[in-house]
Amino acid sequence: MPKPKIGIYWCASCGGCEEAVVDLAEDILGVVEKVDIMFWPCAMDFKKADVEAMPDKSLVATLLNGAIRSSEQEEMAHMLRRKSKYMIAYGSCACTGGIPALANQFPREQILRYVYEESPTTVNEAKTRPQLKFAEAGREVTLPELRNVVRSLDQVVDVDYYIPGCPPTPKITKAAIGALLEGRMPPKGSVLSPDVALCEECSRRDSKPTNVAFTEFKRTHQKHLDPQLCFLAQGVICMGAATRQGCGAQCPSGNMPCTGCFGGTDRVKDQGAKALSSFCANIAAKEADEIDQTLKGIPDPVGTFYRYGLAKSLLRRKAGLPMSNGK
């Protein structure tokens, strides 16, 4: 019997998700034995033309990581969707926009100007910007276009399953691939990670206060963090209660609060609003001025509560930003 074929692709991603696949360590050999990897540009030499030549639905699954942010990424997502029986959003960026989606707070022009002209490490006196088309010696070369909006994969193509995490852990990756190979897939649209809040699997759970009354919020660099106590008891924002489990609470184990990379549980529509709701409700003060004083400890609510999920949040992007057209 021929081995099932899979593809692995990256879009607007940092490469961490690719690393996560490699992190399967010796287990990757078990996977490689059971499947044929037909497309994995980060690790092996494949060309787009190879994918184009594949019959439709000939891949059992594509694991696609990264947000969708350029015309090329969008085109590849459409193509891989056609070629795959299952399209799997792999990692926070593909699932909910991830860190790249924080760019949804800025106009594209501002981003390009900063990156190509203003950033302290940039020397570009001619203010050269990448062009979509460039002709030289009778040959025209092209570059993909950067979109105004950063999107999650399912805002571009139909997605069958989600493997969350920044990056997903080897454990849930292995479980997902196992389920895929054995044909034990849950209903379409499922997130392949337990639908329970992270606190349940956190070793600090016993010290989680039942009645917090925050008088201040401290950020991680402003405080010496106790290695055992629940972060909430230390006045530090931990997204555990608003985040789906599956990572084994690795950040709290490493003495850092959860920043929410696994996304919310299924019944939560907007992870950021939910997190904001529970932190604020538990502030001690009752007067607007004092409340504001406490809230000074959260200088950037969007970055704190939507660190990985702005693209998929209810508002998706800052309102009123211009949509520039073309180069």
Partner: protein, 173 residues
């Protein structure tokens, strides 16, 4: 829920979504109605048992579905039926207001007022004031923006498809 108001003969009129506590502001709005006080018809009221039930998700949902403004009405401090609900509401409000401002939604589009069951007059004043402010601000139009953002994708998808054959020639060369 669809908060987009039907345009009356082509002219835009703001849509204001209100979350009113059953025990106070909702009753006050009722009183205002019964006493035939005139206030702007732009308001769509959602009755909740307490302002503490106003989940910030509701506010964002209302904006994302076309509300131009969101008004929350609750019992005065110390008067909440459930003792602490209005304080919870106030604390959430203080941050969500800042957060929606960071997301490009003007501060005046979100307002919290304490209005007791007897203050029908205050409902009228607050609603009229807010509708005037929304008129001055103009439409927020989040659903329209979603459509524009999505159009970027389909437009460029066509572009990608037409350039595809040319690019694959290069790949084979």
């Amino acid at each position: 829920m669809n908060a987009t108001p039907k345009p009356t003969n082509g002219s835009w009129s703001p849509s204001l979504v209100a979350f009113f506590c059953n025990w106070c502001t909702y009753t006050a709005a009722d009183l205002a109605g019964v006493s035939r006080m005139k206030y702007a018809p732009n308001i769509r009221t959602i009755r909740l048992m307490c302002s503490g039930r106003v989940d910030p998700q509701f506010i964002l949902d209302a904006f994302s579905k076309g509300a131009d403004g969101v008004l929350i009405g609750g019992c005065h401090p110390n008067d909440c039926h459930y003792a602490e609900g209005n304080y919870k509401c106030l604390r959430r409000f203080r941050l969500i207001k800042r957060m929606v401002a960071d997301l490009g939604i003007e501060e005046q589009r979100l307002r919290l007022e304490w209005i007791s069951a007897a203050e029908g007059e205050k409902v009228k004043t607050v609603v009229n004031e807010m509708v005037d402010q929304l008129k001055a601000l103009g439409p927020l139009g989040i659903p329209k923006q979603f459509a524009e953002w999505d159009a970027e994708m389909t437009r460029l998808e066509h572009a990608a498809q037409t350039s595809q054959s040319a690019e694959s020639e290069v790949a084979h060369a």
